[in-house]
């Protein structure tokens, strides 16, 4: 039967499986368990599920202390709070201290919909990229999310995971393997490479490559589930092969995935590059469709960007 679980359910199920195997797995949350999808974890492992109330800075500090006590804590909140409000705690108590804190920021970018601009993390990737040694993940597919959470738990270091709560893709068959730091080629192509991260843009990019195909443009598509460390080899291989790169992300392109790819290409082999993402704007309320339209996160816009990009080759 097809897997139709929301990504947050995959997250919770994966943590439960891990917690079953390993008594060190625990969660720390800040009054958003019902949103992040973890009440099922709490009911199964009540002694390893801590809700600190509406106190995100403290949540990350407590998670750091748990890590110092040898536990493997997953702390989760809306991305706007996990990143912006607890940045210093994650930076110092977590990363600078060399502790292994797994921080999950849900509702990335426009997926915060009706919570609006106050709750819309567009800047979290840029902020987190500046933390030395931190791993940043944004899986969009159910199988990859499960595998990457499993790997994140045992990674030597802290991790920031952007988690789209609802919906999810099933892009891969059982033979596809996933590794932190290794992008996945979803589709081969010759005229340009689309590098996307996250559910919103990957869903649209999959549609866009079909439309481009009909228009006679062959686009390779890469699922860059790890934004840091960036899979430099894969980016350079496909930039070389196709001669043009289009990045797509649900957040500020400056400092985000687009920023990371731009830095790499400029430092090595520049090719025509276009970065689709938020362009120095704040968020706003709306339906997902409205917001996708407002920020250009549509297959049609990806196609337009791709066509313009190919002309620059």
């Amino acid at each position: 039967m097809a897997d139709t679980r929301d990504l947050r359910e995959v997250y919770k199920d994966t943590l439960c499986t891990l917690a079953e195997e390993d008594k060190k797995i625990c969660i720390v949350e800040a009054d958003l368990m019902n949103a992040t999808g973890t009440p099922g974890f709490k009911s199964r492992f009540p002694e390893r599920a801590f809700d600190v109330g509406v106190a995100e800075a403290n949540m990350v500090g407590v998670a750091s202390g748990l890590a110092a006590a040898g536990m493997i804590p997953f702390a989760a909140s809306f991305g706007c709070f996990a990143a912006r409000r607890a940045y210093d705690q994650f930076f110092l108590s977590g990363n600078y201290s060399g502790l292994k804190v797994k921080l999950v920021g849900t509702d990335p970018g426009v997926s915060a919909i009706y919570n609006g601009g106050t709750h819309m993390p567009f800047e979290d990737i840029a902020m987190m990229r500046a933390v030395p040694g931190l791993t940043i993940l944004e899986p969009c597919d159910r199988r990859s999310l499960e595998e990457l959470i499993r790997q994140a738990a045992y990674l030597e270091g802290s991790v920031y995971i952007r988690l789209h709560r609802k919906g999810g893709l099933s892009l891969y068959d059982e033979n596809t393997s996933f590794e932190i730091g290794k992008g996945v080629v979803v589709r081969e192509g010759t005229d340009l490479t689309i590098i996307a991260a996250g559910l919103v843009l990957m869903e649209e990019a999959v549609k866009a490559v079909e439309i481009l195909e009909q228009k006679g443009i062959s686009a390779a598509l890469i699922d860059m589930h790890t934004i840091k460390p960036l899979d430099n080899d894969l980016v350079l291989e496909y930039a070389g092969k196709t001669g043009a790169v289009l990045t797509c992300e649900n957040g500020q392109a400056a400092g985000g995935l687009g920023g990371a790819v731009a830095e790499l290409l400029c430092d090595t082999k520049p090719v025509p590059l276009s970065r689709l993402g938020v362009k120095d704007e704040f968020g706003q309320v709306g339906t997902l469709d409205y917001l996708k339209e407002a920020y250009g996160f549509t297959a049609e816009n990806i196609v337009k960007e791709a066509e313009n990009l190919v002309k620059r080759k």
């Binding site: 109330g53 202390g65 040898g70």
Partner: protein, 275 residues
Amino acid sequence: MDQNEIKRLEEKAREIRIKTIDVIGNLGVGHIGGCMSVIEVLTLLHYKTMDTDPKNPNKEVRDKLVLSKGHAGPALYCILADRGFFPEDWLYTLNVGGTRLPSHCDMKRTPGIDMTTGSLGQGLSAAVGLALGGRINNLDRHVFAVIGDGESQEGQNWEAAMTAAHYNLDNLIAFTDYNKMQIDGYTKDIMSLDSIESKWTGFNWHTLRVDGHDMAAIDDAVERAKAVKGRPSMIILDTIKGKGCSFAEGVLSNHNMVYSREQADEAIRLLKGEA
């Protein structure tokens, strides 16, 4: 604690005070005020209260100390060196490029440091996490935390305070170094902490208040705190910033102070009881 034990600890505190003035004096600048005010509590914890092993700093079952006012690191380093966590000559590399002993406590660099601190207000949350971790693993462990009074103005302390009480963390014993001074002046003028005891009792902590330079009184408070079940304890230490250091004691500018070798030597002479 008998009189001999008290005397032993007081003598040790005097040694640590002298060593700290000397070590910071080596570079001629540092957080002398806040180091001097916590000498007694740190000495008591490390030479009597806590179960720690300098030969095996990472052993699983042992007590933990979070020095949340991370700028008092140099005082703790003098204790750790004396106890054999690392060689004594490291002390004279304090804040020298490439050192393993930076101004603020760094668990990655310094053996015996249980938590990295320095951005004020973060240590108590980490101590809560350590106490929860100890409880999950059924470890007979106490977690001690020392926070500053100026530091208590950081809101995160009170988030952590709620959490510790909510989870009934009776394995957590915290201290406030109530020296009543902060960088910009007296705490009563900058941001008053009155009435500090009722703040902690209001957060449902078992709260005690003692003279923070009276070894026997601090020890008595710690023993009473250990006996309390179901609640964390806060021991408010009435202290003097710069205590025992002739050129710094009670001086408003002693938070991060420049001083000369001559000043250091004079302060040390006085502490040694030499004329």
